[in-house]
């Protein structure tokens, strides 16, 4: 199981902001591939330059295993306040 959060225009493109996946893919890249396979537009938005992933509220680069019950967020380029 994992909780997936989308922010900014990613949420607009997907039409959802928060989703529980159970069972969840074993890795971050697996999760991204799953979301992209389900929704090609979201897939394109996730692959755009500047999109970052956060695991348990910390930015991660590259692939990571997804622990059970974790929170994953996809963050488009930040606007600032």
């Amino acid at each position: 199981m994992c909780q997936v959060l989308l922010f900014g225009r990613l949420a607009d493109v997907a039409g959802w902001r928060e989703r529980r996946l159970d069972p969840a893919p074993a890795t971050l890249f697996g999760l991204r591939d799953l979301l992209s396979a389900e929704d090609a537009q979201l897939g394109e938005a996730l692959a755009a330059p500047g999109v970052q992933a956060a695991l348990e509220k910390a930015i991660v680069r590259g692939d990571r295993p997804l622990p059970h019950g974790c929170e994953v967020a996809f963050l488009p380029p930040m606007s600032g306040g």
């Binding site: 900014g8 509220k57 963050l75």
Partner: protein
């Protein structure tokens, strides 16, 4: 103190509280960012944060500024949600012994908040909504602080 809020807030009430009971603070600088109507071009602003993540990212910057400028204290309040023209978006206050440190820290914190803080901002105008990215000026302002102190 760092706080995100969905509710409209009064910057003056924050300044009153921030200045209270300070007998060794010579200088309090503050900045209040207000939502501009831009003569009707922008009607409301919508700001999204990632609760927990956003405060941590701001805290990291604020604690570095506190050390760099020998601040006695700081306060950052940032509005999220839907913001109407004239409403405060952000309030930053810094307290130091002397004014140069208070001003420079406040200025730096605002530069970071405007260009690098984890917020996503949508402008709702007469032609619909659009997501905003930092301006080139905002990025240049924030980069002024990337060189080491005194360089």
């Amino acid at each position: 103190m760092i706080r995100l809020t969905n509710e409209a807030f009064d910057p003056g009430a924050l300044l009153t509280a921030f200045c209270a009971d300070r007998t060794e603070t010579g200088a309090v600088a503050s900045f209040t960012g207000l939502c501009r109507a831009e003569a009707g071009a922008a009607q409301t602003l919508e700001l999204e944060a990632y609760p927990g993540f956003t405060e941590s990212a701001i805290a990291e910057i604020a604690e570095a500024a506190k050390t760099r400028f020998a601040l006695q204290d700081y306060e950052i309040v940032h509005r999220v949600g839907v913001i109407a023209p004239g409403e405060p978006i952000v309030f930053v206050a810094t307290a130091a012994s002397h004014r140069r440190a208070a001003f420079e820290a406040c200025d730096q914190l605002m530069d970071y908040l405007k260009s690098r803080a984890p917020f996503w901002k949508k402008e709702h105008g007469p032609d619909g909504a659009r997501w905003i990215e930092p301006t080139t000026q905002d990025k240049a302002d924030a980069e002024r602080w990337d060189k080491p102190a005194g360089a």
